[in-house]
Subunit: 243 residues, 2 copies
DNA sequence: ATTGTCATTATGTATATACATATTCGGCGG
DNA sequence: CCGCCGAATATGTATATACATAATGACAAT
């Protein structure tokens, strides 16, 4: 364990050390937005590794938006323009459980038919398309926590018509029965309408945070859902945390 | 151009083709959450590439949360739990410009001193810390667009005391003068207080969307800002779009 | 039955090498 | 002076190879 130990074995991978080092230089103000960063060859020499390893470090930093790379001209510290934040939108049941509360689900209404024009637009559906309209309430320790209004496009997911969603929530069912989907989220603030206010046990006109979600499968809308949160909602994180 | 052309040169990199292929299989429902994905050797053979290339494809899919990998046991399609959404929080001026509007900035108030306890907490500061309190209004084509209330920790950024922020906004100045920073964002809905309502030209009690941002540098809070948006706010995107 | 050891296996990291591709720069001809 | 062309250069992709590491399962010992 003496001659062989000369090759000090780092527990953290080399490319991570390089990334960390560059991030540290940036955070310390040594490197400022627009400043050039040593090329791959130089870094490889500096860290005693191969160019591929330095390349990987720089590539990942670039994917994370920390640096900008261009062929021939090199790598520079990115100018922090608008920031990207990783917003976590958890499943309600998991969110409630994570707070150490008892999760409760209730189906308030189940309605089948042709949706109104506004919803039809969201579903990108024709006038003859039928949709399943569900109204649900999620509770934490018995207290109303989130109000969910959802439409499921029966053209895209005909099986949903036979399900009665009394026990299983639409989100859980869809995740289990519809393969995978692209999604869109819209965040907005609104004043609670009388019905929502009553359900969530808040005053009418109180501000609520709404998250609208649409999911697609192969270009067709699966479902349009509107989640209404009373009070605060928070979720955060900068992209740098990922590295 | 005949014998040499046998080696058909793909314009899209091989690792991208592999990623796309696997994503397609998932989206088509061929592969469902929990299902195993061919190992690196198998993929390398299937696509006629080296294991490293297959490895990169799978590693990136794993970083994007599409698959889950474990040594010895292999790679599986990830179970879509809570979703991660990439939320873009652009700079106001860029946002306004992107809408094709004339951006306007106005400093409403500039106030120096010891902040109230609530703000002091946000700044993670002691009772003797002084802060610069700025109140700004951002306009689009003359119409109030966003209301900004900001505190800058003078212990962390003493230079800010000499700046008068009449022309340049605090965000732009900080980006230029403070290296790089980790950040935290909190989203919430609130009812507009009378002053905010007047400034934004909306009715009192109307719902507004608030974004609170704190940024750190080397463990110390640089600034705490509260942005208030009237009406809607939208921004979205699923992680899959990244691949 | 529980625990321990060990070979097996799939993924993870690193290297040296080769060639592809984009971009800049300098020079050459018009 | 302008525009085209080729050289130089830094990044981008791909390969074959080697070894490290974690998880599994089987078999043996307690």
């Amino acid at each position: 364990m003496s001659a062989a130990a000369a090759k000090t074995r780092p527990r953290t991978p080399v490319f991570r050390r390089i990334k960390g080092d560059i991030l540290a230089r940036i955070q310390a103000g040594d490197l400022r937005p627009g400043d050039p960063i040593p090329g791959e060859e130089a870094l490889a020499h500096e860290f005693g590794c191969s160019r591929m390893t330095a390349h990987r470090a720089l590539r990942e930093l670039s994917e994370e938006g920390v640096v900008e790379r261009r062929r021939r001209s090199g790598t520079r510290v990115a100018r922090p323009g608008g920031r990207n934040v990783l917003l976590e939108i958890p499943r309600v049941d998991q969110e409630v459980a994570a707070m150490g509360c008892q999760y409760g689900y209730a189906l308030l209404d189940r309605d089948l038919g042709r949706p109104a024009a506004a919803v039809r637009d969201k579903l990108e559906a024709g006038t003859r398309t039928r949709a399943l309209h569900l109204t649900c309430l999620h509770r934490a320790n018995g207290v109303p926590y989130q109000f969910e209004e959802r439409w499921i496009n029966l053209d895209t997911v005909p099986e949903a018509e036979k399900v009665d969603f009394a026990e299983i929530g639409p989100n859980a069912w869809l995740l289990d029965h519809v393969p995978w989907s692209d999604g869109e989220h819209v965040l907005s603030a609104a004043n609670a309408d009388p019905r929502t206010a009553e359900l969530l046990d808040i005053a009418p006109q109180d501000a609520v945070l709404m998250i609208e979600r649409r999911t697609w499968r192969q270009g067709r809308v699966i479902t349009y859902a509107r989640f209404t949160h009373p009070g605060r909602f928070y979720r955060l994180r900068t992209p740098l945390d990922r590295g």
